[in-house]
Symmetry: C2
Subunit: 194 residues, 2 copies
Amino acid sequence: MEQPRRPYDIDRLTDVALAVFAQRGFDGASMDDVARAAGITKAAIYHHVSGKEELLERGLRRALEALFAMLDESGASEGRPVERLRYIVRRVAELAIEVLPELTVLVRVRGNSETERNAIERRRAFDAIVAGIVRAAQEAGEFDPALDAAIVVRLIFGMCNSIVEWYRPHGRYTSSDIADAVVRIVFEGPQLGP
Amino acid sequence: MEQPRRPYDIDRLTDVALAVFAQRGFDGASMDDVARAAGITKAAIYHHVSGKEELLERGLRRALEALFAMLDESGASEGRPVERLRYIVRRVAELAIEVLPELTVLVRVRGNSETERNAIERRRAFDAIVAGIVRAAQEAGEFDPALDAAIVVRLIFGMCNSIVEWYRPHGRYTSSDIADAVVRIVFEGPQLGP
């Protein structure tokens, strides 16, 4: 059944553009592709936005806002450091799915423009906050002190970020299946026995 | 100190092209960029290769050959399934660094051409072999049976693949530091205490 058509506004155009960027890559996607996907003319798009860069900027902002907003949730901000860390890792895995097009575009930025470099800088700030929590967990004797906190954060988020590359909505796995697997692998140590 | 100049051959051109693709993305890189990086004319490049696609194909082949060759090493092919798995995970993390430009290009392919789709198919075959080892480890009671083997493989290799995005040669961390961290996180369960 076809969705009733909302008139285009900047948010809906951003939705369409993100899907196009996620599929073709930002560099590989043109405003013609966005117009085609939206079913409107390029002129009509330029009525709403200044160009591809602005659509990217809006998509990246959504992704970063979702990540930072999560850090304010009580599970991420209260309790023992290792419990906060588990909560954050689970939520980052869930967000990879819940905010899939936005996170897809975020994890693929390479710093080719001012917009991309700003996003990388904010993402690094996010990672640095989480690395601080890893260090707090290590100081509390709750997390392997032999691991470098910065490497831990990069590797764990590398695992979470990879979800955007293979997760398919309405496929076999739910967001919760995948988040459970991430937490089990990272925190439980799935190897059994000697 | 400048390296003595080898005359260009197809392998050296592939090296240069891979570095350009890793930096600018395959879609964002042109043969002009490759020629500039090689310090020769585009005409001279076309003397050696048919085009950008052939350079990509050669790079992807190197990456896949490195991965499959590793599966024949005794650590990957002999012993208890869980020990083979640990060995493979460590080696994939090391290969991300040892064969950095090749693996960078491989982990970023999106299936935009026949060459990319072939590479994705071979990479999937590699993942399927490793998923078989995860299942064997589960059947032997050596690995958490609650985890889906296909998800485990995707997540662990997602972690390994992410190394290409942040590892910098001659930086703070060696290939062995990073491979150790991957194995500790994935197999040991870094959370301590209750």
